[in-house]
């Protein structure tokens, strides 16, 4: 077998000290998948507890810690780093025809900072847990006895990892594109990652500052947010959402970026509306900074502020809609084949449509007042985060898996898992739209008897979901145990990352590629995958 980045150099030390973006991407992938597993275990525990009103398997205090950890782990340890730091790290330089990211050492530093943040979070878990919800709302968070200090410190540290990744990608996209690759010959994945990186760099520092202010209030009793010390609890919500709303787009934009890659490949067709998709990413990134107040429609902020934030919130729906329509138009007159990545991409289209459309309910002031902080919101953001980002992540994972590890997986089992995950997801979360509409508040340990049938339904859905993920873990593990068997270009894709070996050699390309055609030039028949001469 030819030497590749997995086999040379050898040894644990060579992995731990690597500055190769591919290895760092793989280490990130393993880490975030572990975080996803951990967050998933907490999710299952939540759903089991909610099988009955009152106590099922745990006390209210434990339940509050479990849903906080589910949220905090899924947000800070899984979904924010998920696509950019793992898949993005691996494929972005390959897509651009580069040898590595612009700052390889910074890249490794970002990984170790992530690990440090994760350890702090684990520290918070074992020293009593955190019971504030992942949103850390004051003054609850500055007065509760749980390990809020460690957890906020963890999120603070993780923020730096995110910022470093963002800086790295911005520099890489600006400076390391292969000769001939103009901005509009860049794959749309790079546009999505670029828009994400801008938000990471501009918004994350605000979260860091806010979390430090919480620590100062907790440790030194400086009155910032707690009214008993002369602070303003609503100020915290402004600071927090000024980061955390753009952060929603840190999560979804990379997902959209993957969909823009997968749909053309499996429709074997030029992307429809390249510039519309590229500019809409930038538009989403820009408007995302101006809508944070829609999390606070019932917080007591002024009616004028509510009106402005409501209006701007509706504007952000437009570029998202434009993307969806362009992806569907890409499939028109294509040659569509339904392998696992495309199944996940189609799941994304359907689920993200519901996630986006239910956002209209929450943007409309009068309706939001009723739905705010109910299960409707829980269902909405799970449709966007899990139905959107996670489905896109799984599409990307299955799409690039042969490239990353040089091995194919069982297509049959991949389809079974995709079907189970799609069905399980809908059973789990569609029922929650109804629960919330009927007035079931979120973060409730106990609930009215009338809600039980829907809760049971939702819990059963979570088991179907879990089964789907276990099957996935199984066939991916099996694929890793066998020798390399993947061709360089199993999907017949035209992107640069497919023009090198699977897995790629240590320095990506033997020769710097020269880019002469567009990234989605599928109008010519693509012959069966062939090994590219090295």
């Amino acid at each position: 077998m030819e030497p590749n980045y997995l086999s040379t150099p050898r040894g644990l030390k060579s992995w731990l000290t690597t500055v190769d973006h591919k290895r760092i991407g793989v280490m990130y992938l393993a880490s975030i998948l572990f975080a996803f597993f951990l967050g998933g275990v907490f999710a299952i525990l939540i759903r089991i507890e909610l099988l009955t009103p009152g106590r099922t398997i745990m006390s209210a205090e434990t339940y509050n810690r479990v849903f906080t950890l589910h949220g905090a782990i899924m947000i800070f340890l899984f979904i924010i780093p998920s696509i950019p730091a793992s898949l993005g790290n691996f494929v972005l330089p390959l897509m651009l025809g580069a040898k590595d990211v612009a700052f390889p050492r910074l890249n490794l530093a970002s990984y170790y900072i992530y690990v440090a943040g994760a350890l702090l979070a684990v520290g918070a878990m074992v020293t009593g847990g955190v019971d504030t919800g992942w949103t850390f709302y004051t003054p609850y968070s500055t007065t509760t006895n749980s390990s809020v200090g460690l957890m906020t410190l963890a999120a603070f540290v993780l923020g730096f990892s995110s910022i470093f990744t963002g800086i790295n990608f911005i520099a890489t996209i600006h400076k390391l594109r292969a000769p001939g690759m103009s901005w509009f010959k860049m794959p749309l994945f790079a546009w999505g990652i670029y828009a994400t990186a801008i938000i990471q760099v501009l918004a994350t520092p605000v979260l860091g500052i806010t979390l430090l202010l919480i620590l100062m209030e907790r440790v030194f009793s400086i009155g910032i947010f707690n009214p008993q010390l002369g602070g303003d609890p609503i100020l915290f919500q402004h600071f927090f959402w000024f980061y955390s709303h753009p952060a929603v787009y840190i999560m979804i934009l990379p997902g959209m970026a993957i969909i823009s890659e997968v749909i053309p490949v499996f429709s074997r067709k030029t992307i429809f509306g390249y510039k519309a998709i590229a500019y809409s990413s930038i538009a989403i990134a820009a408007v995302s900074f101006l809508v944070w107040g829609h999390h606070m429609f019932v917080s007591g902020q002024s009616q004028l502020a509510n009106a402005i934030f409501s209006f701007l919130t509706f504007l952000v729906a437009i570029p998202s809609g434009v993307k969806v329509f362009n992806w569907i138009a890409t499939m028109y007159k294509g040659s569509i084949s339904l392998e696992a990545p495309m199944l996940y991409a189609i799941s994304f289209l359907l689920l993200f449509a519901i996630g986006g459309l239910t956002g209209l309910f929450l943007g409309a002031l009068a309706v939001d007042v009723h739905l705010h902080d109910t299960y409707f919101v829980v269902a909405h953001f799970h449709f966007v985060m899990m139905g959107g980002t996670v489905m896109a992540f799984l599409a990307g994972l299955h799409y690039w898996w042969p490239k990353m590890f040089g091995r194919t997986y069982s297509e049959k089992w991949a389809r079974v898992a995709a079907a189970l995950i799609f069905v399980g997801f809908n059973v789990t979360f569609l029922s929650q739209f109804v629960l919330g509409s009927r007035g079931m508040p979120r973060r409730y340990y106990n609930y009215l008897d009338q809600f039980q049938p829907l809760h049971v339904f939702s819990t059963v859905g979570s088991w179907i979901l879990a089964l789907g993920f276990f099957i996935m873990a199984g066939y991916l593990w099996v694929s890793l145990r066998k020798p390399c068997d993947a061709p360089a270009n199993p999907w017949g894709a035209v992107g640069l990352e497919w023009q090198t070996g699977s897995p790629p050699p240590e320095h990506n390309f033997e020769h710097v590629p020269l880019v002469t055609h567009g990234p989605y030039d599928y109008s010519q028949p693509v012959s069966e995958p062939e090994e590219v001469q090295a």
Partner: protein, 314 residues
């Protein structure tokens, strides 16, 4: 069709305003159904119609269509602007309370709702309002942020320490409406509920005068059990010995209780009474002085009922 959707998805309407909200809500449901069917229909149709026939399929090189891009930008834009104005107009109606509304003070605290009426009457977790009269709530919190949510009224407002927030409504349906806390506030969050009793004018003023007739012919211990639930005692004081924010009632009565100042006291009728009315007077060792006073909120018979109830927890 709309009535059927309402019956499945929406809570009952307790105010005329709720009907107004539901109009927009239904419209949004139809918008969602339309666009979802559009997306799902096109995807399904394309997947079937343009499925791969062979390894050498050729596809046309369609790169963009400016007319389409403009259409699917401007049509949704017009639609969301309509939704924005619709939502904003209804919202403002719920924001501006009419002059002369009956004003009730609301104080939230982990994990009870306290109400004070213009004539000085006070109640806990039970809000009584007259039917068809505008009622304005002026709300604040003593500890963390809570949120006042009445699903049948389609109303919600955060209750924030250090500031006053407001809410007004005009109930059009007599009967009992659910009150829920929707801002996460800790262990008792999901038990921080209450009931809103909407009564006709006569019944309402009768309640203000006499406290209603619920429990009049009830044995003391049974009334005590009812008050234990309705006044939020259960959020802090368990009956099975589990430790909460306050000591459990189990096996307290007739036994010595260790206090935080090192002394100890026999838990008799006078001790329980004092603990209800002046909770800060004697603090049980190991607990914080966080219980609100119930002075002026309980009638003599209700205090006796609670004492009987505590006695029964052996």
């Amino acid at each position: 069709m709309n009535a059927w959707i309402r019956s499945i998805i929406m809570p009952a309407q307790g105010t005329a305003y709720a009907g107004q909200v539901d109009g927009l809500w239904l419209f949004l449901i139809w918008v969602t159904v339309f666009f979802f069917l559009l997306v799902a229909g096109l995807v399904t149709y394309f997947v079937f119609k343009y499925r791969r026939r062979g390894p050498n399929d050729r596809t046309p090189n369609i790169t963009h269509h400016t007319g389409l891009e403009v259409a699917w930008t401007l049509i949704p834009l017009a639609l969301v602007i309509l939704i924005f104005f619709w939502g904003f107009r209804s919202y403002m109606e719920a924001q501006v309370s009419p002059a002369g509304a009956l004003e009730i003070q609301v104080t939230a605290k982990k994990w009870v709702w306290q109400f004070e009426y213009p004539d000085g009457t006070r109640s806990i977790n039970e809000l009584h309002v007259p039917l068809g009269k505008p009622v304005k709530l002026v709300m604040t919190s003593e500890d963390v942020i809570h949120s006042f949510f009445v699903p049948t009224f389609r109303l919600k407002q955060d209750v924030v320490p250090g500031v006053y927030t407001q809410l007004w409504f005009q109930a059009s349906e007599p009967g009992v409406h659910r009150l829920l806390c929707t801002q996460y506030c800790g262990r008792g969050h999901s038990d921080m509920g209450g009931k809103i009793f909407v009564d006709n004018e006569k019944k309402y003023s009768d309640w203000l005068e006499n406290g209603g007739d619920a429990g009049k012919n009830m044995p003391l211990a049974q009334l005590g059990a009812l008050l234990y639930q309705s006044h939020g005692c259960q959020t802090c004081h368990s009956l099975d010995g589990t430790r909460g924010e306050g000591p459990s009632f189990k096996g307290v009565f007739g036994h010595e209780v260790k206090l935080s100042d090192g002394k100890s006291v026999l838990a008799d009728e006078n001790y329980v009474r004092e603990s209800i009315l002046l909770p800060q007077a004697k603090i049980v060792a190991g607990f914080g002085p966080i219980m609100p006073t119930f002075q002026g909120m309980l009638r003599e018979r209700e205090i006796q009922a609670l004492i009987e109830f505590v006695k029964e927890q052996k």
